[in-house]
Symmetry: C2
Subunit: 447 residues, 2 copies
């Protein structure tokens, strides 16, 4: 037979079982936390009509899209979860209740140039709250709590949520007489962390004709250690600015009630997060010990989710975690908690009798008690069986020989300690359940 | 602005939030049950190199495939989860431990002609046990238990697992002198349920030249009420047959120990399940009250999982549930348990004070206690707020006015009974948690 070489496409993450088990734990934390905050799970198609998916797209994004025809249909794979959400909300508007809170964790596709740590198929994990015509500021204030809870439950400790408000920035530009240069100034400021204040000042003055005094003043405000105080002198001069400061103050004010410790949060006036889309609070999240990774959870407030599909105004606020990328980083940085079991089963049952009935019945009892159980009945030598147990990393092995069966017991070996104990068949499932539960305590990340 | 009409492609299931919540429950049962039997979760790419994915495919399947080029790459979307598994096992053979037990629940793509109840994107939920060179029969005997447990946990009661063995059929054909017609006979028998024994007999004799006595005898054996007894007289005449009967007897023998009640199981000699692939036990599962749906869980034993990729012999046994199709049927037949809550939140918190701090702190306390909580702060009339609560189907609403805040209590309204109660702020999360847990008891399907 002619054979084809088995391979997986580059840029597509395919994990071995232990890593997959760790990935599932991380994903489960996101699902559980998002649910806790009242978001409903959605699942939209991976394929959409190109006309629908690309209503807005253009430039770099469009080039990366997986687009093809099938029969007469021009189809594309989704490249994010926001456009499908916009389509969903526009299409099902009358059947939804607003504010509409949804989470979606799903694969998206971008044909980027393959390089280490960059993926063409990757999970995004998004939440959005969509209002119908209006959306209360408390929804923006709640987002840092969701980010904090998600990362804390994952086991991360050293991270910071940075927040800014686009109204504050745009208002400030107006007050400083930079209204007509707002977009250029915003784009330049976005580079502050990368190129530093001197270079930003140079670009502002030389390229965009900002007066050097104004550039200096702007950079001073942005760099201040106490942003809310630094903004105070500008109050009352511009409506947009005042509204932005009010929003920022509301976000900060409720942090404590939302359970976010002050040291995990910072107002940072230099955060712009792109140019057009966001209109209010914007968010970034950085791992303090891995700034090179960039923001691991970002988002913001927008005014029109679905303007390409409907005349209805649908403001919202949302954040996104690049789950595949985050998992890759955690793996690379050896931050995944290696102590948690990754075996597909809690107990490997080794029957030592011809008649397998007692072993099968014991497996059935374990499963009924919520213990994951696997029967190993391949005709191998004892050593090979124990090797298998070692290789899959199973925490417990159960031996059932004639002696055990006659005495109504099972020999249970704790593979970590090496200790072995005879336990009555009837109480063994509970014995296992308690010990397995103890082994599974702990967060997926160890920092 | 020029707008695009929002639409979802036909043949792609996109659910509204309450139905999605029900779908998630069904999916969770499959994940949980598969795990209980010691299967590890896998997640392979949706896109594969066409050369790899289509190594085996041909005919009808190949026509349905979503295939396209991106740059220089000839790519295809997976059309099942078996070919990706074969690739995975061949590619990672040295890093896996055998028997390798994996489950995968993922979307697959087939460009079938769109019609009601047929999907182009749909979830399959597969389990497979793969051996390296050999695989013990107990793995085949365990499959009915997994099917039984899965469907029972879903809440289904009236279903039957039908089992046959391909060795028995092929051996029987040989004993009856039909060896050289085996494939034609098998294909004809596969139609028994559809066209009845008379027509099958006619096709066998007229089209394939089977002697009418032999056809009659074969059909008698297949139609018998006690298949294992009917097979006995043929023992000792054909090695393959004898081996098949032994396997079938082993599968039947351990049913009880595996916890499968006799009335949910039947040996059915008429089940063939396709032609080439399967070599031992084969399985079908039918809903007794909905035979028109066909088999909702099928599979069998095969000898060579990955022969297109490797010379290693990798026998296995697996089953597949067409999850999207099953969910569609359950929905159509109104078999989904409507009593289980589908709201994205357990409690909707309505603050009645200017300062939102107490409401935010209460939401935080609920979430900390594992209660899903949503703050509703849109500036709407009381009636509109309660309408929202009704529409999302939230089981509890929490009112926090000045009175409540001063007394350290919260008014909790049970939306099902209409009863309202004042509960101290500190004990309210526990109060909610207990009641919410009680509401969520029950299987996703009500039969």
């Amino acid at each position: 037979m002619e054979r084809v070489k088995a391979r997986t496409l580059s840029g597509f993450m395919e994990l071995l079982p232990p890593q997959q088990a760790r990935f599932e734990r991380v994903k489960a934390v996101l699902e559980e936390t998002y649910s806790r905050y009242g978001f409903t799970p959605l699942d939209t198609p991976v394929i959409e009509a190109s006309e629908v998916l690309l209503a807005k797209a253009g430039g770099e994004t469009e080039k990366q899209i997986y687009r093809f025809t099938k029969g007469d249909s021009d189809l594309s794979l989704r490249f994010d979860l926001t456009v499908p959400l916009a389509k969903y909300v526009a299409l099902h508007h009358n059947e939804l209740s607003f504010p509409f809170r949804r989470y979606q964790i799903g694969k998206v596709y971008r044909g980027e140039r393959a390089q280490r740590g960059r993926f063409r198929e990757f999970y995004q994990a998004d939440i959005d709250v969509i209002g119908d015509g209006a959306l209360d500021i408390i929804n923006e204030a709640e987002i840092p709590a969701i980010i904090y809870q998600t990362f804390t439950t994952l086991g991360l400790k050293r991270f910071r949520i940075r927040v800014n408000n686009r109204k504050v920035l745009n208002g400030l530009f107006a007050v400083l007489g930079l209204e007509d240069k707002a977009e250029d100034v915003m784009r330049t400021i976005d580079k502050l962390e990368k190129i530093g204040p001197e270079k930003v000042a140079a670009i502002l003055t030389e390229d965009f004709g900002v007066e050097s005094n104004t550039a200096k003043r702007l950079l001073e405000i942005l760099a201040t250690g106490d942003p809310l105080a630094a903004l105070e002198p500008f109050q009352g001069k511009n409506q947009l600015f005042d509204k932005g400061v009010e929003e920022l103050n509301t976000v900060v004010r409720y942090l404590g009630d939302f359970g976010v410790p002050a040291d995990h949060f910072a107002v940072d006036l230099t955060i712009a997060r792109g140019l057009d889309y966001y209109t209010g609070t914007v968010y970034e999240t950085v791992l303090l010990d891995h700034p090179e990774v960039g923001s691991v959870c970002s988002g913001g407030r927008y005014d029109n989710l679905a303007e390409y599909y409907t005349e209805k105004q649908l403001p919202g606020v949302g954040i996104s975690i690049g789950l595949t990328r985050l998992f890759y980083v955690l793996q690379e940085q050896e931050m995944l908690n290696e102590e948690l079991p990754t075996a597909p089963t809690d107990v490997l049952i080794l029957p030592m009798t011809e008649d397998l009935s007692p072993a099968v019945a014991f497996a059935t009892a374990c499963r009924g008690a919520g213990v994951r159980a696997q029967l190993y009945t391949e005709p191998k030598k004892f050593k090979a069986k124990m090797n298998y147990a070692d290789r899959i990393g199973v925490p417990f092995v159960a031996f059932l020989g004639e002696d055990e069966v006659h005495s109504g017991v099972v020999s249970l070996k704790d593979m970590r300690s090496g200790e072995q104990e005879k336990v009555s068949l009837s109480s063994a499932p509970k014995w296992l359940k308690e010990r397995v539960a103890a082994l599974n305590i702990g967060a997926p990340v160890k920092e």
